[in-house]
Symmetry: C2
Subunit: 207 residues, 2 copies
């Protein structure tokens, strides 16, 4: 069986990567979602094992020692990480795995797993990103400027990815994600064994 694809999706906050990923998973039931681990406390509606796997700090640090994460980071005193075993087991079983993670995490994974499919979700324009951010709630002008500045810096890092998908309309963005996955499976570099196999076939010429 051929190994599954590791699909790594990032993008600035407000670009809608969560929406695109959820819609992709709803259409393609055979893609497995990797759930991150964290030491921060669950919030309102979050469910263990769905939003995150919740670890104590001790558990998390032990997992780090056991090389249990594909990548991890400490942010404002809390740890976040991608559990390695789930991802590698699913890939080995031939399932595609979707990771929706921040850019720093994605770039760490790219170092150790360059065969992954690295997709960057973009907003149509900064102006549209601003609309989406402000429609969410109460941003001060100051914090809005900060967020747009941060988004612009993140967008510069798109050049480290292989694909970009502009999330103007969710359905179109999901179709592009599906096309990327389908096309990646057709890459020669992922089909060496298949191509070598013709050589192994016995000729079947009837007399």
């Amino acid at each position: 069986m051929s190994k599954g694809l590791l699909i790594v999706v990032s993008g600035p906050s407000g670009a809608g990567k969560g929406t695109v990923c959820s819609a992709l998973l709803a259409k393609q039931a055979d893609i497995k979602l990797s759930i991150s681990a964290t030491t921060r406390a669950p919030r309102n509606m979050e469910k263990p094992g769905v939003s995150y796997h919740y670890f104590t700090k001790e558990e998390f640090i032990e997992q780090i020692g056991d090389d249990g994460f594909l990548e991890y980071a400490e942010v404002y005193g809390n740890y976040y990480g991608t559990p390695k075993k789930f991802v590698l087991d699913a890939l080995e079983a031939g399932n595609d795995v979707l990771l929706e993670i921040d850019i720093q995490g994605a770039l760490k994974i790219k170092e150790t797993y360059p065969d992954g499919v690295f997709v960057f979700i973009l907003p149509p324009t900064l102006k549209e990103l601003q609309k989406r951010i402000t429609s969410r709630g109460t941003e001060t002008e100051e914090s809005l400027k900060k967020r747009l500045g941060a988004a612009l810096e993140e967008i510069e890092l798109a050049f480290e990815y292989e694909y970009c998908i502009v999330n103007d309309e969710v359905d179109a963005a999901v179709e592009e994600m599906e096309a990327v996955v389908k096309a990646e499976r057709c890459l020669i570099k992922r089909n060496h064994e298949r191509i070598h196999n013709y050589r192994e076939e016995e000729f079947y010429v009837e007399a």
Copy 2:
């Protein structure tokens, strides 16, 4: 306007690249087909400008001198080539261009136009290829063996391409072609300008 994609399709005789390309063009009317030029005489049902552009030997050689071909070759005393102007004009106008050409021609184009999308059409198995070849008409055992041997040698050259599509069922193969085209348009390397453009946007923060 962004430039179109140069889609170059090859594969061993009998793999069905013609069928796949025709079905793709029927679905995607905006893809332009490049018509090859040849000095050989038109056959039964062939139409000038549809099957081939028919050139005299003198015309063809003059075009070679004018750098009028993306690639050309002489086969059994006849010339075949890909007229350059049609392809480059269409790409410049933002149209995708499909080239269905032999492997030698494709590899020449890859040297001068590495940004092309190089797709190799494969039969499901050699046995299936044999079935397709024999169902076409009267092959002697000798000529069949020769053709299968040639196909096997050609398949080795798939490693020079970027994508392979196994033509087991035409509709599925066409969907893979479409996915490849859609995914290629999402490649970061084809979207540098778009990504740089966010920087040029003026911030739009209302007071």
